[in-house]
Amino acid sequence: MDKWPKSILIAVLLGCLIGSPFVFQINPYYYDILLGIGISIILAASLNLVNGYTGQFSLGHAGFMGIGAYASSWVTLSYGYCLGANTTSTTTVFLLALLGGGLMAGIAGLMVGVPSLRLKGDYLAIVTLAFNEIIKGVIQNAEPLGAQRGLGGMVQHTNFFWTFGFAALTVYVVVHLVNSTYGRGFLAVRDDEIAAEAMGINTTKYKVLAFVLGAFFAGIAGGLYAHFKQFIHPEGFNFLRSVDIVVMVILGGMGNTAGVCFAAVLLTILPEFLRSVSHYTWLPLWLQQIAENRMILYSLLLIVLMLTRPQGLFGGLGMPRRRKDVEK
């Protein structure tokens, strides 16, 4: 059972490689949604490592995404021309920028991970939220990054191949890490921190590692996002964006990567679907308006889900090994 993620990774990568020449032929609107889905999968799968597998409730994932987006944009905007204009070198710069964005976000993750050693549950959620707001505040004041005006002018490097390639990589790393002997520590920290500590697991290390890795991938997602939308704004990485990602993880079932990825797909398509619903004039006006405001639905979904099915819509349906944990 542990072997399938690797084969899936290879299959997805091959699929991306074969598919990428053809996806340009589809409707640009669907292409946009498709890339959005890939980025959402990276964000949700990486947050799932922190929130789901390690049980550290983080509400600041969009902050890491923002760091990655700004750092990578800064790299491509500053050094994009250095290596000449042929495809290979621009791609190299783009990948280096993504890596740089990921690393910057990872460093920020370290800074958030360290307080997490002392804090639990509600407090941790608030502190991560606070970090998110601080990151936003710093960007808003950083003149070289466009401050309040936002940052634009990036070239659209992000394409189908890179987006889904990184999505597959993220899912692969998360699933494989958690299912490895080493990675069982994440689950142990989540299930019972004191017991884990008593068994000789270095809970500190696992918590920080979860934050750093989660932030790293969020940073990469941010870089992809920046080079896909070609314009980023500090408000795009606020608390509500974090909530979007948290909803994906909760809906999919915390600690269930397959469910979380599915939820990421669903929740990326849903706003587009709702947008089209809001144009159906035969619906009552209030229904149209509710459809336009997806956050009303998200929040109701969160409440109802927690009241009736706290393991998430797909929790307990994923990989067999997880089912045993949920039942406990």
Binding site: A130, E133, G137, V138, V243, N293, M306
Partner: protein
Amino acid sequence: MIEFLQQLIDGFSQGAIYALIALGYTMVFGVLRFINFAHGDVFMLGAFAGLYLGPRTLKLFGAGPSYIGAAAVMLLAMLVCAVIGIIIERLCYRPLRERPKLTVLITAIGVSLFLENFGQFIFGANPKSFPELINNRAFELPEWWGQFSALTITISQVLVVAVTLVLLIAMRHIVLHTRMGMAMRALSFNPVAASLMGINTDVVISFTFGLGSALAGAAGILISIQQPSIDPLMGVNAGLKAFVAAVLGGIGNLPGAALGGILIGLLEYIVVGYVSPTYRDAIVFGVLILILLVKPTGLLGSSEREKV
């Protein structure tokens, strides 16, 4: 010097409002050990209750703005918020009481988002101007104050501080000298033992939510008198700041919440005046992180018994 004093005065009255909201956080935390994320949005609902009920209530007490009318509006808003708080607890938090904390936390975030977005849906997203409940103007300071007579102190600022003080004393009385207050303290000390002693925990928890939400409602009216432009998202930032205040003072500790509120208000205005307005939020949150790292129990710690 004058400028600095002015910032302190403005910050103090802003801090008094944070203190009122922070009391709600602290009380609920004391009893249930969880952070009611939706508390800031109850504060917003208080302001909107004033917006809709205000003009009608004022008419009952004569035509123009009056203190007695303002007091009636505030009491009404407190009542509305108390009912809303109790309903939220009944519908969303009570069924989850035995569940893991994370579940309750996520629900609370959901309730908060729901109130914000449903508020935007019902009230409209644009800021609304709040009716004039009192004739708000600056006091004319006497000449013999010398250079200090250049300070601006408005009626609303004095009112905010006075009302907060009265409510704080009332709260202290309820918690320390009534049977319900004793039950609240018992519950915060040991919920199981409290229920074994015959305390109806459900009633006490509902009461706590009602009380906290009423304070948030009062804060909503007070802030609208000071800054008469309200919108459905006004509770987000105020709620977070008040939470920081509650943690700064020591969550679960009533005087701590008041102290924390004042300190955060002062800090905010000093940052706005002397650093940069855009750093206002970031610095307040920085303070939160700093406290949690250095002294998670807050300034007034919570080792003593007075924990509700």
